[in-house]
């Protein structure tokens, strides 16, 4: 009996300890928040279709980009792949019957929902206008928005990430099937393992920093406000100590997804498996040492800036190793362009562009010109949307047969993937040019000569929105009318494909035993 047929009542879902059901709960919750954040983005792009600030008040615009950032970062991107696909797949991929701490796993979802309620309350109470970065002393002394509510939501949701991370790490360490050595683990597991390390080591720093923001705002006793004897740079250091590694929380799992999809649809073992695993660990470790590149113009020491610049360039090396190895995996492969593959290939290209423009920003001299312009916006959207969201969707399509037991309609899948790729580039490529021309971020009006590029960007946003709505429609349709999925529709390797679709409650009929490494694909001649 499949895990979906174990019970149909709402109660059976809300009290489940099954990692697969918890993953589905997460999927529903983060999808809801994705469309909240997306609605805010739509309004932002509508406002920027004309140079004059005519659609919303400046204060409203500030609240729009704040809620877009807060929701997309903490309520969609960070939990997206680890808490949905990671939760569903890591126990399956290591041949375990469940996560190591199933009740903690369910608790993490409830904590997420509680944090989400605070964010919804922030919206209902009138929003918050600090930007997702909550920079002091504006957030602690001057903002009239609902800073405390918003900060409480982010504080709470952090603990849901920590619990998921803890669970994944212990599961990978302790519950691997017989014969499944570390270097036989799929790269998706490696990526989620490294991500989990970042989750448990970086998230608490943000939590405490936000506590200090709340203390300063409530008691007017300052550690960040210079008027009270504090130091605003201290906030920026602490904030980015979390928030830069957070970028790798978002993109490392995406790399894991791409590393599963590309070998499968190229029918080739992934090129340089060990280096791929080492590169994941290298990115996760070096990622902790580069936060100062967000502060080149903040007044931090010049020498600190130079060291952070150098370390930021260093992160490009393992990232490039991964891009080269995905490309080399394709070489002489028998490639089929199924929808997941289109997403994965789109990811490789967009991640490369996003990564390369990151090098512009890591160079201190160039960064002085580009700081706080649309160039930065375009750069991190290429990583977070072009990287993480593309792979999240690619992964959802790839494992949809496993999750739902149904096949999605392939032609619709391909059409949506292409539409999203096109819409994404139309939205964000013009923003590189706008930034280079000097258009600053976070303004609701701009000079008329920049309108053409902004109109392109806004038109792209419409295409992108359409692209994101499509999967919601046809994936929902497939739940009822889709073809029943066989256990392994893609002839993929990996333990998750050796059990039924959808899997039974405890994943496997018999505990699997592993005799070989991952990606044992035979090239089709």
């Amino acid at each position: 009996m499949s895990y979906l047929a174990e019970g149909f009542s709402l109660r059976s879902w809300l009290t489940t300890n099954d990692h697969k059901r918890i993953a589905v709960l997460y999927m529903v919750a983060i999808t809801a928040f994705f469309f909240v954040g997306g609605a805010a983005a739509t309004l932002i792009r509508l406002e920027l279709a004309t140079p004059a600030g005519d659609l919303v008040q400046p204060e409203t615009y500030n609240k729009l980009f704040t809620i877009h950032g807060v929701v997309m970062v903490w309520f969609f991107l960070i939990p997206s792949i680890p808490s949905v696909l990671g939760n569903f797949l890591v126990p399956l991929m290591v041949g375990a019957r469940d996560m190591a701490f199933p009740r903690l796993n369910l608790a993490s979802w409830y904590i997420y929902v509680l944090g989400g309620l605070f964010t919804v309350a922030t919206l209902i109470a009138g929003g918050v206008d600090t930007g997702w970065t909550f920079y002091t002393p504006y957030s602690t002394m001057f903002s009239n928005g609902n800073v405390l509510l918003a900060v409480a939501g982010v504080f709470i949701v952090g603990f849901s990430s920590i619990l998921t991370g803890l669970n994944i790490i212990v599961t990978v360490h302790r519950l691997r099937a017989p014969g499944l050595t570390w270097f036989r683990l799929p790269l998706f597991v490696w990526a989620n393992y490294a991500t989990s390390l970042i989750l448990i080591l970086a998230t608490p720093v943000l939590a405490m920093t936000l506590c200090l923001v709340a203390l300063e705002r409530v008691f007017h006793v300052g550690i960040f406000d210079p008027a009270l004897g504090g130091d605003p740079l201290l906030f920026q250091h602490l904030f980015w100590f979390y928030s830069h590694p957070a970028v790798y929380i978002m993109v490392l799992p995406a790399m894991g997804v791409a590393s599963e999809i590309i070998p499968c649809f190229a029918r080739r073992p992934v090129f340089g498996y060990r280096f791929m695993a080492y590169a994941i660990l290298a990115i996760a470790s070096i990622g902790f040492l580069v936060w100062g590149h967000h502060m080149f113009v903040s007044g931090q020491s010049l020498y600190a800036g130079l060291v952070f610049s150098m370390l930021s360039f260093l992160v490009a090396i393992p990232s490039a190793i991964k891009v080269f190895n995905w490309t080399a995996t394709l070489y002489k492969g028998s490639i089929t362009f199924a929808a997941p593959m289109l997403y994965a290939l789109g990811f490789v290209g967009l991640f490369t562009i996003g990564g390369m423009t990151g090098l512009f920003l890591a160079a201190t001299a160039v960064d002085v010109h580009l700081t706080d312009t649309y160039f930065v916006i375009a750069h991190f959207h290429y990583i977070m949307v072009g990287g993480s969201v593309m792979c999240y969707l690619g992964g959802i399509h790839f494992w949809w047969p496993k999750i739902s037991g149904r096949m999605y309609p392939e032609m619709w899948g391909r059409a949506a993937a292409l539409l999203i790729f096109f819409g994404f580039n139309l939205t964000f490529f013009p923003q590189y040019l706008l930034g280079w021309l000097g258009m600053p971020r976070r303004y609701h009006a701009y000079p008329p000569e920049l309108q053409l590029l902004n109109v392109f960007s806004s038109a792209g946003a419409v295409v992108l929105a359409l692209g994101y709505l499509l999967p919601l429609g046809y994936l929902g349709w497939s739940l009822l009318y889709g073809k029943k999925a066989p256990p392994n529709p893609w002839q993929a390797t990996g333990l998750e494909w050796q059990t039924a679709s959808p899997p039974p409650k405890h994943n496997f009929e018999h505990e699997p035993v592993v005799h070989q490494g991952p990606y044992a694909y035979d090239p089709v001649r």
């Binding site: 302790r174 405490m208 009270l228």
Partner: protein, 193 residues
Amino acid sequence: MPTTQFDSILERREAAMLGMWLFLATEVLFFGPLFFGYFHSRLASHDAFVAGSHHMHFWLGTINTAVLLTSSFTMALAVQVAQDRGRFLRLLLLASAALGIAFLCIKGYEYASEIPEVARAEGPEQVFYLLYFAMTGLHAIHLTIGAVLVIWTAFISARRAIRVEVLGLYWHFVDAVWLFLYPMFYLLERYSA
């Protein structure tokens, strides 16, 4: 109790211990910004911090350090006899919890006596007190949670052995935090100037 995910008690124990170690890693980083903030602010406003440490109640802090270290001793003994399930284990657990509560009472008295001084503080000295209350307060919250869990564990029997070991790790961590807080607030440069 569902035990679907583990093959054996040993596997469960190893998972629980690893889980607690990882949680403690999270805890270290949770305290991290406060420690970083302390050293950053101390370098920036050195004189205010020296003045602040002269206002601390040295003897209360020192007595509390002794109380807490003794509680760690009884907790370490409890972990040693965790397999026995005897009355001795319950006694040791309750002794640890009692010492923890004694610490909290002394700390509460200390806080109450400090309020008039804190109300007079200004500028960077306020930062000192903010950090003092935030750090010792967070430590006290951790100790309270620890005491509740220890008392709870003392009166339940199922799978107590693993629980005592895991709780022991947590208890020692909370004590170790105090071993940093005590010199930072009570001792540093108190007698040098």
